[in-house]
Symmetry: C2
Subunit: 207 residues, 2 copies
DNA sequence: CCGGCTATCCCCCTTTTGCGGTAGAGGAGT
DNA sequence: ACTCCTCTACCGCAAAAGGGGGATAGCCGG
């Protein structure tokens, strides 16, 4: 019989932390050892408590869940991070796993599924929500197709910058920006930069 | 001593419903009489159970929280709707109240605050989360400044349509569309349509 | 060592967008 | 009745964006 699984809850919404606490309290072998409502305190708490699993939201004020995940997996390697997020952020799966997360589960998952995912990642295995597998396998995991540079440019477009503005900001030629934009449009199957930015915001490729 | 407050929970995330159930179970005078995970079943349940209060999320698959709110306040006038949503959707406040909601509270609110809000709306009073009052009073409640037509056009822009496309869709002249777009840009303080769409998506003016 | 990916840059051309000003018709409120 | 707002529509012009074609250099993995 294994020891208890220690668990850290990270989410900026009080009500979600309550819900998680309630769900986890039903599993006798899981113990919640802390809660955080933003990335920075999540990292600090993880380093102090060294839990087996961190249940991590992505969208949070200040340091977001992906940055916090990278920080935690770098400094507390024995801790497994399970990303816990909404369906609309499904395209973060790729970057989530890149940043060191061991699992990825949706907020709409029933709690039995959540408990199984926690056990899996605590045992050193990976877990990906079944609802995400189709898009993952089809390579429709859209943000994976964008390079870091392209995401960076797309982010600036979302802030209303023209090609010239972006070129100035990144110290590159305007022609280069146009080139990147054309690639972004092709990859996101968008006709206009506006459409590309909307798609990216909707699937949380940028924010 | 008043009778119990009956309450319906509407949110598409299992974990949020759990959290609400837990929070509300701590208040002896509040009784949860139902749960729904989308707008349509929320309306059906409200009509059958006729609760004192509906705690309503906004973003949901299918019928959203605003449409459900309008439907409920139209058909079950004795029921008070309390909109319960995330900070990033703060600009929905105006439309929320328009659609008949009697209160508006943020998901990050501590549960005592939530309980107070429930009591207030059950008693026939209004409630607006204090965190939203500054933007409300300053008139920075951005989506209030956009007319219905402008929102409609902005929504189409977000789907990647050109002025000509929008004109065709709405059976109006392209010049008219340009006119609307200029007004939108001015109101949202955006330089480009892309910026306007990004702002609108970020503050949930459109989706 | 070579092929593929990435980032950079350049040309030309057409279409779209943004910005200025202007204005009538209809509705709501005072 | 009068005013304010909204939606509608037009003109012209300068800037920006989109689409096509290229090219070069670095870097990484087979």
């Amino acid at each position: 019989m294994p020891a208890d699984i220690t668990c850290l809850i990270v989410d900026d919404h009080e009500v979600v932390r309550e819900g998680l606490r309630l769900s986890l309290s039903r599993a006798p072998h899981i113990r919640v050892v802390g809660e955080a409502s933003d990335g920075a305190s999540a990292v600090a708490l993880a380093q102090r408590r060294r839990p087996n699993v961190v249940i991590m939201d992505v969208r949070m004020p200040g340091m977001d869940g992906l940055a916090a995940t990278k920080e935690i997996t770098d400094t507390v390697p024995e801790t497994a991070v399970l990303i816990f997020t909404a369906y609309s952020e499904r395209s973060l799966l790729g970057r989530g796993l890149e940043s060191g997360a061991r699992g990825y589960i949706l907020k709409e998952a029933p709690h039995q599924t959540l408990l199984r995912a926690i056990e899996k990642v605590a045992a050193g295995e990976g877990y990906v929500d079944p609802a995400l597998m189709p898009s993952f396998l089809n390579g429709k995991d859209r943000d994976e197709m964008l390079t870091a540079r392209e995401r960076e440019i797309l982010q600036l477009l979302a802030d209303g910058m023209s090609n010239a503005d972006v070129a100035g900001r990144l110290f590159i030629s305007q022609e280069t920006v146009k080139s990147h934009v054309r690639h972004i449009l092709a990859k996101l199957e968008a006709n206009t930069r506006t459409h590309a930015v909307a798609t990216a915001l909707r699937t949380a490729i940028i924010d």
